[in-house]
Structures are given as C-alpha cells and as structure tokens.
Symmetry: C2
Subunit: 260 residues, 2 copies
DNA sequence: CGACTAGTTGAGGCCAGTCAATGTTGGTGG
DNA sequence: CCACCAACATTGACTGGCCTCAACTAGTCG
C-alpha cells in the first residue's frame, strides 16, 4: 500500500489528476538534499554528508501541488510523509457533521503527514495554499533508512514531537486567549518562521484568507477582520489585504506575554 | 543528562523528595512487562515474547507518584518517557503570563512525556490526578533498543503520532464546538477509554475537578457545572459530584455528530 | 462588463464569562 | 465520632466579547 501510493506520485500528472488529484504534477528536475537550501530545517539537519546522500536516494523527484489541491485527505491511507520544498499548506480536520477546522499552517522546510503514522490513516487533510512543491518520502523506506542512520531516526522522532508541541501551543491559544491575543500570537509565530527562513520577519504576505485564519484561531472571519482593523488603527500593524507589516514588534510581544 | 535523570528515579524517595519531588517514591516490587495487564495498550503491543523481555530489562522498578505531584514540569530537561501503570495524569502548559492550560488527560497504559523529544526539554508538565505509578523509560535506552527491535521503534513512532492526533482532535473541539458539545465529547472520550480498559464505559468517576475539566475544554468552571446540571436535567447523564453515569449514550453521540 | 470571491463595517443578539452567595464534600484533629 | 475547615461545586444575576446577519466595497477573471 505504501509503495502504490508512492508509485502514484511518480506517475505523470494527467492520470492521477483525472482520478484523484491528490498530487498535481511531477517535476522533471531533481534537486538533491545536499544542495537543498532547506537542508538545515528539514529532515537532513545535522546529518553527515554520506547519510544525506543515502536519504537523497529515497527522495523521488519533487511533486507539484497546485493551489487548493489536496496532498492527502482525512481518512486517506497513510504511506508517505511530505517535506515541503516550496509553498505553504494548511492541515484541516473534519468534524462528524462536516464542519472543517484548520489545525495548522506549514511552510517550506516543514514536514506534513506525520499524523498518519499512528494508525495508518491520515486524520487530517493537507491542502496547498499556493502553488507548491513537496518531496514525498515513502514512510516504509524512511523507516528502513532510519534503521541504518540512527541520526535520521532521531530527526524523524523530533519532527513528530515538535509537531506535537505545536499542537500544545495551539491548545493554549484556543483554550485561554482572547481574539486579539490569538491573532497577535499567530502573526508573531509567522514572523519568527519567516525570519528563520531568511525572509523579513516584519513584513510578509498572508497565505490564508480571513476565513482560514479564523478557523485556525477558533474565531469567525468578521472577528479576524475587525481585530486586524483595530490593530491597524492602533498603529501596531499595517494591513493591506493580505500584506502585513508589523510596525511595533515589542508592543505586540507585550500584548501576549502580559495578561490582557 | 539522560542517565542522571533516570538514576534519580532509582534512588530512594527521601532524597529526591527533599530536593525536587518530581517522582515521589520507589516501588520495591517489580512487575514485568510480559505479565503486565497493560501489555496490549502500552509500548509492548504486538511485540514478540523475546522482544518484550528485552524491553523489560530497561524498565526500572515502577515509581509511585502521589496526587498533585509533578512527574515533570514545563522546561525540565527531557530524559525519559513514562508509561502510566496505574492512575491518571493531566498535562499542562504555562502561558507566558503564568496562566495554566490543561492540554491532556492520560490514564493507565498511556505514555506521557513524548513532548520532550523535540528539543530536549518538556514543553508541558505532567501532574498526577490521583496516587499513581509509572514506569520511567530512559529515552536513550529506548532508542537504542528500538534499533534492535524495529517493531518497538514503530510502536514508539505510533505513540507520538497518536498523541499528535489527540491534539488535533482537541483543536477541533476547542476551535469549533460549543460548551455542551465539548463536555459531551469529553465524556464520550473517557467512556471509550474506560471501556477499552475493561471498566464500565457508562459509569465512572472523574479524576478532575470542575476547574480542571474547564481548563481542558477551554471553558470556565461555572460553565462546566451548569452544563453538567443541564444534561442531568435532560436525563442524559446522572451527576453526583465526580461520579458520572451516562444514561443515554446514543442521544449523547447524536449531540456531537449532528450540527447543533 | 457582470459574476464572483474576498474583505470591511455596522447593528443587534446570545453564549459563555464574571461576580457573588450559598451548598456540599472530604479530610483532620479534638 | 463528630465538629470544623477548606476545597470543591452549584446556582443566580448581570455583563461583555464574539457571533450572526446584512449591506457594501474592492479586486479578479472569464
């Protein structure tokens, strides 16, 4: 089952797109792990050259995923995890009544799909927020390789655990913060992650709609819009559609580190 | 660092209790994994006899943790994960301003402490809700052993990933459900887990105070109390302090699977 | 240009929070 | 064994933050 899923990824786009457009198309160029700019954020972090070469051998060509396309859907059989090479993804869960809750936002260098390891089935879905590219890693092959490269196994464990911590932080946010705090935490989080990637941490473009941000933060889109406007009015940020400029980082930090 | 942490666990109670009462006391009897009633819920699940014997060798004697004692605290160095042999634990996060958010409730056969793998430091704390017993597993030793027993490594990965999924479900709950739904989901969740352990799934005793339940569900204690009373009034449950009886499981299920 | 999607803003309502008083329970020591 | 106290829980009245509904604007794409 794992192999078939990965085999599918290697097939040309048209076929899979007609049946189930999970992974859009196939990239003809191969970027190797050891020359990838995300080497230090992704699974290879800290691995020695030779180990990276071995890892590289199980990484197939990158796959393109177009905006709005699903990488996997809730309930899908689990076969691979995906390293985001380029772009942004949201993960979402479906309630029994069909409501959709966005549970995370992942950017390049991060891994999605780890939620499927538990019981061989994805509990979440992952959808591209913009045209993106991922490296699909067969989980079976990854495990086999991790056995030969202990450091890779550790990195894998770390990735899952970090995702777990991310979830804990979201629970803290959803369980105990007011709308304004949630949004500020969200912005500061993005800021830090962009900075870690060498982009500006004070000026960036949101990849999500107001509605998606609202879902992620447990709010309604109007509330998100209103809070943006209020922060703008207070001179703390500048908002122009999805373009965000954080004008007063210290003040924003203070808003979430002190009560109220 | 890992070894020292585990060494501490093996020391008699008085010493560690005086300095840092992380793990209360030390049990003089040794229960072996292969005769443990939680074999099928815990890490050994599906392992062959010989593998379980090897795992057993790195499991030290059980440690007692008294009610209200911390197994580990947010920020503690990570060295071990803990299999709950007996009792119940809550995990909690601290906000920067000191607010405390309960992020989970774990019972026997479950593993806590996995959040520390990510960056070598626990993001959460774990506190016993009643007098409990845990098997502390040195993570370093566990990894070493997982290398020799691939199935154990898979189980470990599964445990972390399942915890991740648990978090996703909590996000769904916190992000999109109303007070009543949250509480019903919580009760049904407990019900299922008690049933999986051979206890009654329709009649059990809560280990948490109203305030703890409220924190876990992102509510206030008065709201929890009110919703309990309302459900009681509607004949769906029977509440007597912390004793709960679920009187109409199908109706409760229906409340959370249909919108509203 | 019209249809559509995304975003903003306002008015009003409701669910859950807040504050406060009272009741209940369980552990402790006389 | 019972009285006492503190922690836990319930209930009521009121408030307020966020949701709902709705109107309107600004881009975007066929």
């Amino acid at each position: 089952m794992t192999s078939s899923s990965v085999a599918m990824l290697a097939r040309p786009a048209t076929v899979s797109a007609l049946t189930a457009p999970r992974v859009g198309s196939y990239c003809d160029h191969k970027e190797h792990c050891d020359s990838c700019s995300l080497r230090e954020l992704c699974l290879p972090v800290g691995l020695e050259r030779e180990s990276i070469r071995l890892l590289d051998r199980i990484v197939p060509n990158r796959s393109r995923v177009k905006r709005r396309e699903s990488l996997y859907r809730p309930g899908d059989a689990f076969g691979a995890v995906y390293a985001i090479r380029l772009g942004t993804f949201k993960t979402l869960m479906l309630a029994e009544d069909g409501r959709e809750q966005i549970t995370g936002c992942y950017m390049n260098g991060e891994i999605v799909g780890l939620d499927g390891i538990g019981d061989g089935r994805h509990t979440c879905g992952a959808v591209a927020l913009e045209d993106s590219e991922v490296c699909a890693l067969s989980f079976a092959q990854l495990c086999k390789l991790a056995h030969d490269i202990p450091a890779l196994g550790r990195n894998l464990n770390r990735c899952i655990s970090k995702d777990l911590c991310r979830g804990q932080h979201m629970m803290l946010l959803l369980g105990s913060m007011r709308a304004e705090e949630r949004l500020v935490v969200f912005l500061l989080n993005l800021s830090g992650r962009y900075r870690a990637r060498g982009y500006s941490g004070s000026e960036f473009v949101l990849r999500m709609t107001r509605e998606e941000i609202a879902s992620l933060l447990g709010l309604k889109l109007e509330t998100v819009s209103r809070v943006f406007s209020r922060l703008h009015g207070e001179g703390l940020i500048q908002v122009q559609g999805r373009s965000i400029k954080l004008l007063d980082l210290p003040a924003l930090q203070a808003m979430v580190s002190q009560g109220t």
